[in-house]
Amino acid sequence: MNPERMYDALDRITRVRGVRGAMVVSAEDGLVVGEAVMEGVRGNAVAALAASLAARLGRAAGAAEAGAQRFVHLQAEVGAMLLMPGADGLVIVAVTDQHVNVGLVRLEMQRMVEDIA
């Protein structure tokens, strides 16, 4: 993956109003591959949790015949975490506040998946 293109793509995601930060995570080991503007957030911990969440949900989706994950949206009281699996075992993660336009963030994440594929 071209690091420059990856960081450009992460920047585009974080430019969406309400996005607190974005990162690329290795799904297999939960390590941070790249991140942008994750203020007040422990990137390593988020990466590990995001990878673990994706893995567990993936097993549930498999057992429930929902197929491979395309997008995951964890909604909480004052914000959300969005995950989108990409190529090469990578997962794009965005952390947002509660007023974010999830659809817009999703579009930027999808663009990033296509860009870094």
């Binding site: 007040g40 957030v41 422990r42 911990a45 988020v46 949790l49 995001a50 673990s52 969440l53 567990r56 949900l57 097993r59 549930a60 989706a61 057992a63 429930a64 015949e65 929902a66 197929g67 491979a68 994950q69 395309r70 997008f71 995951v72 949206h73 964890l74 909604q75 909480a76 009281e77 004052v78 914000g79 959300a80 975490m81 952390v95």
Partner: protein, 257 residues
Amino acid sequence: MTAELARDPASLVFIQLAEHLRLQEQLDAAMRVVRTGLERYPDRPDVVDLYARILADAGNRDAAREAWEHTLTLAPRHVGALKGLAYLAYHERDYDAALDMLEIALSEDPADEQVVAALHTARAAADREDAEARLRTGADIFAGIEGADHALLLIDERGLVLGGVLRDSRGLVVSEEVAAYVAGAAQEAERAARLLALGAWQSLECEGTDGHLHVSTPSPGAILLVRRDRRVPAGRVGLLARRAAAAARGWLEAQAG
């Protein structure tokens, strides 16, 4: 009637006399009269039926059952015996047996208002018991909601199924396996929301290549899973999940009450 019986010991008036005494709750006297009659007429179904009713009134249900069963050997569709056995079955909460007996009795005598009334009572009891059983087992939690029979699942935070059912494309139940995985995902969702200071997690949506999963917590300690085909828009899955969550909350409150 007593005088007539004294004049003619072979008279069948003893049946009316015993029934009269039974209705007056003079059960000992009724029993004496009917036993005397039984010695003379042991194979008359109406006499054995009356004997059974007196036994039942006296609380001797086992003997009453034997007498009614004997009545049916003498007259297989004897309405009185069928009603009597239905009465016993009803009090043993064997409503199916009671309904079977009463339906035969009704086919024998469609104008018997007692049978009609007893059928209503037994059916209502059977329906009530069935509803209670379904409530206990959680089979009806999502009744009336799209996907209730194959795509809605309520589990506890340990991954144990509380109600609803999830089936795979072959129709096989996969509830327990999915429940275990979903509970694990819910734990991770809770941890992630806490770490990111996002407050309590509310829902976890997964769009897959073949379908959508929507996970939420309708009540503390409970997790709801909704699965939908991928052609169903994610927003609609959310609406469905809210309906299912309301149903789950109602059921959980009923369980707690």
